[in-house]
Every structure is written in structure tokens, then in C-alpha cells.
Symmetry: C2
Subunit: 289 residues, 2 copies
DNA sequence: CATGATTGCTGACTTTAGTCAGCCATTTCG
DNA sequence: CGAAATGGCTGACTAAAGTCAGCAATCATG
């Protein structure tokens, strides 16, 4: 199995990667093309680009200056936060972007073209499988101080999503969870990351004299369905058990049906209301062995 | 389908590629590590490294000088051809190579580790499938003057292989094929390549007044079983038909059983001896529609 | 043995990529 | 309000990657 993975890494990653890069880097340096592509017709925030492409702030700034100099993008002030700047493609930039997009299509087609129909179907389904499983295995889960940027990014995304899904909106500060409660030994905050991007989180409170409680369980849409939520939940439970808890409990909103499915599948059962969280409709608990 | 291939290229190629590179490039620059790895415990010829890694001759030379300076390799004279130099790892180089090898194993295992047994099995079989089909689709077939380096490399490999397989050895010059006969309009020489490496060839003679003849059909062991021989044969037949030939014929040695299987599968039937090729035991022909 | 092709090496570059410290503007928090 | 944190920009770097022309050794061939 290890041998298969190694062969795959060697041939596929190297060869296809090189081909891909050479297609992208035809008119301008690779980093510029990649950045231009990543900005996209919808525009993007500079901070988001930095984490997605894992670039040094100075280097990114310089790249943006070059693209701006070439008349391909404009960097303007952010919408809500004046420090976060947003990049948009100009008309010329949009033309370039479509050119890159076309090349990407062309490259993809050149892979499919020499194959028979049957081979094509087998190749694409195998590719989808590899991508899915690889993504799942590239997710690493580890503890993180809730004040760290990665944790903050998760909590922001968590709040943004709940605000969108709840009929009444959502305000993180009304959750009644103090940051200090999520630092060992009083609790734990876990973050799931893919390369440098945070794609999920989960928190555990260990209030003395009360059962352990799970809060802030969130998984980014980009990795949903790969078992990340399950892994986060399991890690939190393991930590709670190690700290001596005999059970964990949690609350949830009626709109979060996937979450409730997960809880039930993992052995949680519904219990009566145990707090006055204004956003909660259901309360669950699970005994720890 | 195109969308699937694009997603695959984007996520897998980028992310795994970057991870792979960061593992390799821990103690020394990436290019040096890659080169060291490619040399391997068995050593390699400089010319072979250049085509495999697609490097500039000057750059490669410099990289070798650096590795030599670090006491990891020794560059010595070639065996048969005094111009082609061979690189071998020193004891220190072998240690480094094993370190890289170990890291590669480690990386592969880190991909498998977070998955369940079932997921692992699915991932590795999907990887093998992708690799196979991708390799097949990255093979490009095109005409090439038989004097070009790529063609010469193929013919050398062809001769080397036949010399190994025939009981009586093999001498290309006794084949009775003149280079000029394989240049349009008198004939055709096709080469199959993956990125810059030649992995197969096939030749067509169109002697006036005689049936067309296929010669020098060879496929590198690295891509055998992916239909490259079939594609080469088909291209040659198509060219022969376009040139007005109504049939093609060829001869082969009794030790080349896979080749004979291919010929029969493609509609060739055995015919009586039509030439005095000292290496031939069987003669085949196929009518062209 | 003279000639031309092949192979590799070296010097002298240019371009890309990446890093780090310091600065300023904006926002958040006490 | 002031202090601290955050986000981005610039200058001044270093290192790596890649290119090109010219040279020397070796080999194939007439």
C-alpha cells in the first residue's frame, strides 16, 4: 500500500503537476498566474488569498503590485473591515482569467482525449475517489488556543454560518462561553486544518462539578462528508474521558439537522433542557465508558 | 468529466505535490534532492538524468558539482561511450538516499494513517487506477526523423532489448533498413513520448512496388500494457493506408510472444517467409481497408 | 587522420521565489 | 480615550532556478 501511494505521488504529482504549471506559467511567472486565478471573477480578500496560497505577506503584496501595474487587478478597501483589502479583476484581468480558465479546460481535455469512453469513465471516477479520500487524510486535528488566528477564523466562519441559518440571526457573545474556559485544564479547543487552512473546530468545557460540554462544533463546507466532524467529536470525547468526565452533553438548534444526525449516530440521546441558551432547541448527552 | 479532472489537478496535484516537495527539500534545495534521489543506489548516466528530469545541461552539471562537493556522489567515465559519464553515490550519498527514501515512506504512510482499513484499500486501488490511465493518456505519438536523439534513444533501447532476448544476440545494422527509407515519403518513423522521455517507437517502410512493411516496433517496459503498442501500430497502418498501401506485413522473432499476441489481436495473420532476415521466425500480414 | 557530431563542463548572466524588519492605517478592547 | 492587536505595504535582502554561449574531450565516419 505504501508502495502504491509512493508511486502515485511520484508519477502523478510530478508529471501532472509540472504539466499543469507549464500551462499556467506561459505568459507570466507561475506565482502571478496562480494568484490571478485564485482571485477569480468574483474578487477576493487579500487575507483570504494569503492563507489559501500560503504566501508571505510581503511577497503577496509585491505580486499584487505587479498585477496592478499590469492593469489586471485593482485593490480597494474592504467592505466591513477597513484593514482587510479586497482585490478585483479589471476588464483586462477578466480576459486573462478566462484565458487561464480555458487553458485549464484544454489541459483537462487533453488528458481525456486519448482514452476510450470506458477508460474515461474509469479515470474520472477514480480521480474523484482519490480526491475525496486524500482530502480526508490531509485533515489534521490538533489543539489550539482560542485566541490564535486559526481559531478566530473558525469562530468567525462558525458565527457567519449560524447567523445565516438561524431565523433570528446569531451573536457569538451571547453563547455564554468564555475564552479562558476553552484552555487546558478548564477545557479544550481543537482545530482541523488542511495544509494551512482551518476547515473545522470544536470546543470542550470541563466545568468543575458539572458534566463536560461540547460547544462550537463546526466543519467547513469544503470538507463536509469526509468524517471530520466525527473525528473532532471523538477527539473531544477522548479528552473529556481522560480528564475524568463520565458523560458529555451539548445543545443544538433545530435547523442543524446534519449535526443532530451525527450526534445520534455517535451514540448521543436527547435529554431535557439543561441551560437557557437562547439559540438551543435540543439537548443531547452521551455516557463515556 | 472535464470538471472532475480539473478539480483533481488542482487539489491533488497542488497539495500533495507541495507536501512531497517540502519533505524532499528539508536539508538541501529541492532540485538537488530530486537529483540525488533519481541517481539512486544503482547509479545513472548523466544523459539519462537530463532527459528524465528535463534539466538544462549546464544546470544539471552545476547540481552534480554541488553534490560532488558535498561528497555525496562521484562522477566517473562511462562504460562503453567515453563521453557519457556515469554518476554513482558514495557511502555518504547512499546514507542520504536512504534518508530520502525513508521520508518518502513516512509521507506515504501519513496519507494512509488517518484512514480506516476500508478507506485505505479504496484509496490505493483508486490511486493505482488513476496512475495507470493517466500514464496511458500522457503518452503522445508523433513522427520523428530517425536521426533525432529521441529516435536514436529508442533504437538503442530496442537493440539492447533484442540483444538480451535473442539467443544469438542482435545487431541493428544487419536489419537491412536504411535510415533514409524511414523518412517521408519513403516511409515513417513514429516515437511515443511521456513528457520528454521516449517510451516507444515504430517504423514504416513504403518500398515502391512492394507491400508496406512495419519495422522496429518497441515499447518501453515502463508503459507496457497501456495500449501504446496498439496505438503505434494503428498510426502506422493509417499512414500506410493514406499512402495507398492495400496491406502491411512484418516479421518477428519467436521469443517476442507479446508482440505476436498483439499482431494477431489486431487482425494480422501468419504468412510464408518473405525475406531473409536472420532474426525472423514468423511473418505476418494484414489487409488494409 | 581529418571532420563533424555528441556530450558534458564552465562562466556570466537574468528571473523567480522567498524572507525579514520596520512602518503606517485601522480596528478592538480595556 | 489610549494601548494593543491586526492587516497590509515597502525596502533590502538571500537563495534558488533557469538560460546561453563557448570550450574541450570523445566518438563515428569517410
Amino acid at each position: 500500500m505504501v508502495e502504491t501511494v509512493r508511486r502515485f505521488n511520484r508519477t502523478v504529482t510530478q508529471r501532472v503537476g509540472a504539466l499543469d504549471d507549464s500551462y499556467l506559467a506561459r505568459d507570466r511567472p507561475l506565482a502571478q498566474s496562480r494568484l490571478l486565478w485564485e482571485i477569480g471573477p468574483a474578487g477576493a480578500e487579500v487575507a483570504a488569498l494569503r492563507t489559501r496560497l500560503d504566501l508571505d505577506a510581503g511577497y503577496l503584496s509585491r505580486l499584487l503590485r505587479t498585477l496592478e501595474g499590469a492593469g489586471l487587478v485593482v485593490v480597494g478597501p474592504g467592505e466591513s473591515d477597513g484593514r482587510v483589502r479586497t482585490v478585483r479583476l479589471t476588464d483586462a484581468g477578466r480576459v486573462e482569467w478566462h484565458l487561464l480558465d480555458g487553458r485549464s479546460d484544454e489541459l483537462a481535455w487533453s488528458v481525456l482525449a486519448p482514452l476510450t469512453d470506458g477508460q474515461r469513465a474509469r479515470l474520472t471516477s477514480a480521480m474523484a475517489e482519490v480526491e475525496r479520500l486524500l482530502m480526508a487524510s490531509l485533515v489534521t486535528i490538533g489543539p489550539c488556543h482560542p485566541g490564535e488566528p486559526r481559531a478566530r477564523a473558525c469562530l468567525r466562519a462558525y458565527a457567519r454560518e449560524l447567523a445565516k441559518r438561524f431565523d433570528v440571526g446569531f451573536d457569538l457573545s451571547r453563547g455564554g462561553v468564555d475564552e479562558q474556559e476553552l484552555v487546558p485544564p478548564a477545557g479544550l479547543f481543537l482545530v482541523a486544518t488542511v495544509s494551512t487552512e482551518a476547515v473545522g473546530c470544536g470546543a470542550l468545557r470541563l466545568p468543575p462539578g458539572e458534566p463536560a460540554e461540547i460547544k462550537r462544533l463546526w466543519v467547513s463546507a469544503s470538507v463536509r462528508g469526509l468524517g471530520v466532524g466525527r473525528r473532532l467529536l471523538g477527539e473531544l470525547e477522548r479528552h473529556a474521558a481522560a480528564a475524568g468526565a463520565t458523560s458529555v452533553r451539548l445543545d443544538t438548534n433545530r435547523t442543524l439537522t446534519e449535526a443532530m444526525r451525527l450526534y445520534r449516530a455517535e451514540g448521543y440521546h436527547e435529554i431535557p433542557r439543561y441551560n437557557d441558551n437562547p439559540y438551543a432547541h435540543h439537548w443531547f448527552a452521551k455516557p463515556l465508558c
